[in-house]
């Protein structure tokens, strides 16, 4: 045992928190109890630095079926069906071991969705790495993409979309956020609250091993001396085959009405699952660790309680139904064991056979952690680096090609072709064919669209405006396929909230999220917070990742983002007044600084409605949101996608006060690039800017006019694969 540093401090508890635990127990906690408290009172489980902020978010809405607090949120899509969805991070495991870290990230979010009785139908991923010229970044990228594919492909859930950004501040601390959507009959959905004193607690799925004993590994070393066990990797190992069986098993159990409640085992394993089920149900739980099926026979009770072995689910079952439940588990060749009982004690009691090895009030364990106020302070200046990769005074043509070749803007085909995007027969719009993925729902006779977004660089420039922009970009992406937003999930990836600068970013970002959602009328139905994302060089860019789900009546009318036919008119719609602040061009020039213009949410919302209706009525041939790289990159993407050029004059943006450079490369919310019949576009109130046709991208912008061949643009835009696979 370490002399000098108390064990609770090594486990991440403060002196004050430890005193509170002693006070609530009326005694010192033993090793099992200390391990359990340290996990449930961690930032990850208790949200102790973010919970007060999250209270600002709007969570109510007509279509909300399940909101925050359940394993996943859910919205009504009609005809008795609901779509469940949630995004979660697996950042630190992926930074240590990207393949298993990303794979188990997908596995974990899938379990969250089927835990409420929804069949997973789609996965999206939001990934952040350091610059692609770093060997480490390429290693992490390759491992994470393989890991996501390995798990999602093997379990038969389509990966339909996502985004990848490459920025220096993610060099050491990459981000892997996975989002899952599921479809459920609303009447079959189940909550996580334990209920019914005397009911059985059944553990299903994989056996429990020493993998993923995260924070508690420190305790392990203190307990076991200098044994090798303590040095085992703390990253969990995924087995998608096991999860596939557990998934089918749980859905069959729910369909047969055999379960009272269901919860997945994620971070903090049995400790958080049992604790949260008891807390939500206002009951107590007895668990006998001797009944937990183990991979290794000599595991200590605390190890069993904190193990993060994957592919496990915890269910509450009426005693008379246990045999039937176990028979279904046997059919699916997956494990099951009755390991405990629901009690009226208000305590979580941990037994090993007849011995009580831990006993804690549920209230103290799950809800007793103190919540902290942040101490935010605006750093007032740009705290991240600037690295110029583009010379000043180069031609507009070269600037366009450099932007298209930027790995954050370039085609991500290399990644998404490694994912099964078609399984399930729902995918109407595959990755890169439209701004949002579109999935048909024959069950409810309509379709849903989903988009995931979050540009950390812009949030770093202005945490409030940048977060508003992330929400608006999702809304714009949905509008481009004719969808109306139903609900939103988010993952807040930030640095250390105990530092005033990061606290300020978090505080401003949550306010932006809350205000944008309120103004759009989109409820937040769930989310996740990942803090302490820092490397030796400082914090990551503040990165709120927003996942938005919308509904559309007729998937056959979905527009694509590609130009459709020569002769179609091209038009701009929306309150788009781009500037170079926070843009990809500013990054490449090494000119990033604080400050972004404040988006006009009401005006963007109105533009979204116009585009949505136009798409639904087939009045446009293509619709594309203008985002990274500005208007030129949006034009190039639509042209490359359609295999046809365009000729455009940016005068309407000049009339709004933009310089030629801002008109071409500036970024900001609210811009839609549409193509179609001239009269239809004019009737929408859009500004005509040019025409589809030819084999070049030709843009008149005063002294910055440019002409680039379609082939050259495509070659730059498709350059990611060679660079991602570069060996050294």
């Amino acid at each position: 045992m370490t002399v000098g540093t108390p064990r609770y401090r090594e486990l991440g508890l403060t002196d004050h928190e430890y005193e509170l635990i002693v006070e609530k127990l009326g005694r010192e906690p033993n090793d099992v109890e200390l391990a359990m408290f340290s996990l449930l009172w961690s930032e990850h489980c208790a949200y102790k630095h973010s919970r007060k902020l999250l209270a600002r978010l709007p969570t109510e809405g007509e279509r909300v079926v399940m909101g925050p607090g359940e394993n996943a949120g859910a919205v009504d899509v009609g005809n008795g069906y609901a779509v469940a969805f949630k995004v979660e991070s697996h950042n630190h495991p992926s930074a240590v071991e990207p393949f298993q870290g990303a794979a188990t990230g997908v596995g974990g979010i899938l379990r969250d969705v089927f835990a409420i009785g929804a069949r997973p139908i789609a996965i999206l991923d939001s990934l952040r790495f350091g610059e692609l010229d770093s060997v480490r970044s390429r290693h992490l990228l390759d491992g994470a993409v393989r890991g996501i594919g390995h798990y999602g492909n093997s379990i038969g859930v389509a990966t339909v979309g996502g985004e990848i950004y490459f920025e220096e501040p993610y060099e050491h601390n990459c981000l892997v956020n996975a989002m899952c959507l599921g479809l459920a009959k609303t009447k079959d959905m189940v909550r996580a609250a334990a209920a019914g004193v005397g009911n059985a607690v059944v553990l299903m799925g994989a056996s429990t091993g020493r993998d993923g004993i995260g924070g508690a590994s420190v305790l392990a070393s203190a307990e076991l001396g200098e044994g090798d066990e303590a040095k085992r990797p703390t990253v969990q190992i995924g087995d998608p085959f096991e999860e596939s069986k557990v998934l089918e098993c749980c859905l069959e159990l729910l369909e047969k009405g055999l379960l009272v409640s269901l919860q997945d085992l994620g971070a903090a394993g049995l400790t958080s699952s049992a604790g949260e089920m008891a807390s939500a149900g206002g009951v107590g739980i007895d668990l006998d660790v001797a009944k937990v099926p183990l991979r290794e026979t000599d595991m200590e009770p605390f190890e069993i309680m904190v193990s993060e072995s994957q592919e496990r689910m915890l269910a509450v079952v009426e005693p008379a139904r246990v045999a039937e439940v176990r028979a279904v588990c046997e059919k699916w060749q997956t494990g099951s064991a009755q390991i405990g009982l629901v009690t009226d004690s208000g305590q979580v009691r941990i037994l090993r056979g007849d011995d009580v090895v831990g006993e804690m009030p549920v209230e103290a364990l799950v809800d007793g952690c103190p919540l902290y106020d942040l101490e935010p302070a605006d750093p007032g200046s740009w705290i991240y680096g600037n690295r110029a990769t583009m010379g000043l005074g180069i031609s507009s043509e070269d600037e366009l090609l450099a932007l298209l070749a930027s790995p954050s803007i370039a085609s991500k085909r290399w990644a998404f072709e490694q994912y099964d995007s078609v399984v399930g027969s729902r995918t109407v719009r595959r990755p890169e064919s439209a701004d949002a993925a579109v999935l048909q729902l024959p069950e409810s006779g309509n379709a849903i669209a989903v988009s995931i977004d979050g540009n950390g660089r812009r949030v770093a420039c202005d945490p409030y405006a940048g977060t508003v922009e992330a929400v608006l970009e999702c809304a714009q992406n949905l509008a481009c396929v004719g969808a109306e937003p139903l609900g939103l999930t988010n993952c807040l990836n930030f640095g250390n909230p105990e530092k005033p600068g990061t606290a300020w970013q978090l505080d401003r970002s949550v306010s932006g999220l809350a205000d944008a959602c309120t103004a759009l009328g989109v409820p937040v139905v769930g989310g996740n917070v990942s803090l302490y994302n820092e490397g030796p060089d400082g914090p990551i860019y503040p990165t709120p990742v927003v996942g938005m789900v919308g509904e559309l009546p007729d998937p056959s009318r979905v527009a694509g983002s590609a130009f459709a036919a020569a002769g179609d008119a091209i038009a701009l719609l929306g309150p788009f007044s781009p500037t170079l602040a926070g843009s990809e061009l500013a990054k490449q020039r090494g000119e990033l600084d604080v400050g972004l213009p404040q988006p006009d949410v009401a005006a963007v919302t109105a533009a979204c409605a116009i585009v949505r209706d136009a798409v639904r009525e087939s009045k446009v041939a293509s619709a594309h949101d203008i985002s990274d790289g500005g208007l030129v990159c949006a034009l190039a993407e639509s042209a490359i996608g359609g295999g046809i050029g365009c000729a455009v004059d940016v005068q309407p943006l000049r009339d709004r006060g933009c310089s030629p450079e801002e008109a071409l490369f500036g970024e900001g919310s609210g811009g839609f690039l549409l193509s179609g019949e001239r009269a239809e576009l004019v009737a929408l109130g859009a500004n005509l800017i040019g025409e589809v046709g030819g084999t070049t991208i030709e843009i008149a912008a005063g002294d910055r006019s440019l002409t680039v061949g379609l082939a050259a643009a495509e070659s730059a835009w498709r350059s990611l694969s060679q660079r991602a696979e570069a060996v050294a």
Binding site: E242, S244, E248, V422, Q440
Partner: protein
Amino acid sequence: MIWGVLQFPGSCDERDALHACSLSGEARLIWHESRDLDGVDGVVVPGGFSYGDYLRAGAIARFSPAMEAVAGLAAAGGPVLGICNGFQVLCEAGLLPGALLLNENLRFVCRQLNLVTDGETLSIPAKHGEGRYYAPEEMLDRIEANGQVAYRYAPGQNPNGSVRDIAGVRNEAGNVLGLMPHPEHAVDPLTGSTDGLRVFESMVRFAA
């Protein structure tokens, strides 16, 4: 025509195959432990990762009770269609010639591509990590001479390094067909193509 679609632990595309079959007849799932094919006229061995593809893709599934019954149906001349993992299972079971190896670039690939058969071109998605068709030269010469190469990837579209661009093969009698691309995912214009229906239709004539 009644189709049976096998369901193993780890199958992924069985529900999609069931839907595709139901467009041209009746269709039902057959559990892997069933030794009885329940009176179906033909069988689809679907895509996915049967038994986790542990050991080797298809290596465990070929020993399942349901596959014994499928071998019986095949011997009796009934239609058997193996898709992706099902193709791997049929090769492992010796019902089709050749084997499927890891893709040449060692990566999973999901892509809409064109298949050529008897002068016809079909647009069908492929998605697999172990889809590189391989057979010894003399076997390739023989199956080509026998007309057993059912589908080839269109020129320049071979996604996995398969020998002679082979995407699908049949047995000598023609009633057992396996292919890596997924015809069950090409039966709806909304999701990309309806060309996959042609693959199912091509098997119907073998039904008793």
